[in-house]
Amino acid sequence: MYRSFLSWRYLFARRTNLIGMVGILVAVAALILILSIMTGFLDASRDAVRGSLADIIIEPNQGVEAGSEVPRDPYELLHAVRSDERVQAATSQLIWAGLITQRGKKLDHILASQGSTANNPILVQLVGIDTAGPLRVTWPALQAAVRTVGGILPDLHVQDEFDTTRLLAALTGEASGPTLAPVENPLFPFAPPSRRPRRGRPKASVLVGEQLFDIFNMRRGDILQIGTIVQDPETGEWPLNNREFVVAGTFRSGQNEADMGRIYLDRGELSDFLGHFRDYTQVLVAARDYEHDAASLTADLRRDLAERGLISEGPRGPYEVRTWEEFRVNLLGAIENERVLMAIMLSLVLVVAGFTIFAILSMMVSEKRRDIGILLALGATPRGIRQMFLFIAFWDALLGSLAGALLGTWGALRIDPLERALSRFFGVEIFNRQVYLFDHIPSIVQPLAVALIVLGAFACALLFAAIPAWRASKLDPLAALRYE
């Protein structure tokens, strides 16, 4: 009984012990706060790494290896994928590389001119997508009309780009804030803008990444000349192919790579632009329950599609059907490494707190030598003395880590108003929201992490207290009694 009683009494009788407790408190609170913010940031980074990727991406090997060709159009593949109950939606994309120039500059003139680098063309990613805006709008109206005459039209499960990626959010500003030149109707992104050249042949519309639009000083309705190269099947040459498009608006995904170098256009238009060299390059799949079904759905698609001859069989097959995480495996690995490294480095804070406890208890053992002698004379055992000093570390860890856990969790949950208050107080912007494209500081408190940190604090405190506690138990009672 005396162990807990005396350790509790010593804890508060000697203020130096409170330093150890405060050390644990600060360490635990700082660990929880920083780890929560890091987890929030990494989670946001994970979103950024995912970008516009769908849950599952299918990239059939279209003629890369002789004799391994799959169908040129995506419909059979789409039909096969959509027939799986675990699939929410599937759509096709055609991705190709293109070149654009500054407004008013002719691409072939620039390429023909030698020596000048002033008007270098820019390489962009052309993404041909399917959008089913008309169906989305007209089908419900048609259903209502048929209902009035007693008929029933089935629900139409429209599956297009908007069901598989976050493009619609990027167009409406839901992704990361309103964009510079929003399209007039996001459901009809390639509808000609009201301000457009009336003369000449009608031109297809494109959506330009916001940063690209800004850097090139574009305006909605501008003519944008895009060039690309496609191999001539007869001559085998790679001639430059030019075409003019109308800028229908911008999108803002919040991801630098896309906003700086991507142009969306209708998949049919792009295919036509490429001379129908390719109809699609990818099929994007949205799963109903990705977290639950990702692995099984991917494996089943690999097998089924290979059996149907829609993707390659053999060793290349698995690379043709990948989850978005497999697609970004290196970047995700780097993020996870960062999280683990950060946790390890931050754990050193606990070690520092442990050293504080070690120093305070060592000092206390020296100061309390006579008390130890008295306790031994009164019938305490060396083991009991050891436990008494370990109890002091236990109270330090218990009170410090509980208070630290509460403070750290509160801080992590209230980090935004806290940061704003501190910024106002110091007159310095601590967190620049423009840099990270977040309108708040992301913070995620993970109960398991909090529990592990508290456990770590206990382990650290007891570990560092073990040496002074052991020293106390080894004291000679006579020498201790004679100590002045």
Partner: protein, 250 residues
């Protein structure tokens, strides 16, 4: 005359017996200084014994050995028919807690505890948490009663630094007696007190010893204190030179 001082014709049973106790302390690596040269002693129930001797004669060393705070280099100790040094550390600690009571010259109270908590300390050491919770009320009442009997009713919640020397020693005596030990070992109990206070404390100590019928070994160099004891052992250069069954005449 009985030649073996550990044997005596008294009918009172022996509480503690020591035989052939030798103790030396190292002086550097090669040399050592022997303080006790084969001491034989037996303390009987209810016996009040004074251990006298000059400074450095070895009386405190002997007291510490008899109190199981120090281990002899040679010789045997027997308490209740058992050799405590053949017992486990925990059993030896239990003997110190239950059978022996210590009163030190410098009181040796824990400064962080109040007077009553200091008195309760041996009982806390003897009990686990559950047992302590069960008997706490009764023990506390006993401790309050003991302190009140010692004239410390209004000093129970005071900590040692707030008490006078005499009050501290009375608390120390109350603590030593709280577990009802069989043997009280008092090392110069009045050595740090003025004459008047010392006499009061001594009276209290002797009265309690008498009342409880416990054995007491009183270490002192003061013959006036020894005069209160029925038996006086005189130690000189680590050897008991005289063992009197009667008080030394003043």
């Amino acid at each position: 005359m009985n030649t073996d001082p550990t044997r005596r014709d008294s009918p009172a049973p022996v509480v503690l017996r020591a035989h052939g106790i030798r103790r030396a302390f190292a002086l550097g690596k090669a040399r050592s200084l022997e303080i006790l040269h084969g001491i034989d002693i037996a303390l009987h129930r209810g016996e009040r014994v004074a251990l006298m001797g000059a400074s450095g004669a070895g009386k405190s060393t002997l007291l510490h050995i008899l109190g199981l705070l120090d281990r002899p280099d040679e010789g045997e100790i027997e308490i209740d028919g058992r050799d405590p040094w053949a017992c486990s550390v925990a059993e030896r600690a239990s003997i110190r807690n239950q059978r022996l009571g210590f009163v030190f010259q410098f009181y040796h109270l824990l400064p962080e505890l109040t007077a009553i908590e200091n008195v309760l300390l041996p009982s806390m050491i003897a009990r686990g948490a559950v047992d302590w919770r069960r008997s706490r009320g009764e023990l506390r009442a006993r401790a309050e009663h003991a302190l009140a009997e010692f004239g410390l009713a209004d000093r129970m919640r005071h900590k040692p630094p707030q008490l006078s020397g005499g009050e501290r020693q009375r608390v120390a005596i109350a603590r030593a007696l709280f577990t009802d030990p069989e043997l009280l070992l008092a090392d110069e109990p009045t050595g740090n007190l003025d004459k008047a206070t010392g006499e009061t404390v001594l009276e209290l100590l002797l009265a309690e010893q008498e009342k409880r019928g416990l054995s007491m070994l009183l270490v002192t160099h003061d013959s006036r204190l020894a005069a209160h004891c029925e038996r006086v052992l005189t130690i000189e250069d680590g050897v008991i030179q005289a063992d009197s069954a009667h008080p030394i005449p003043l």
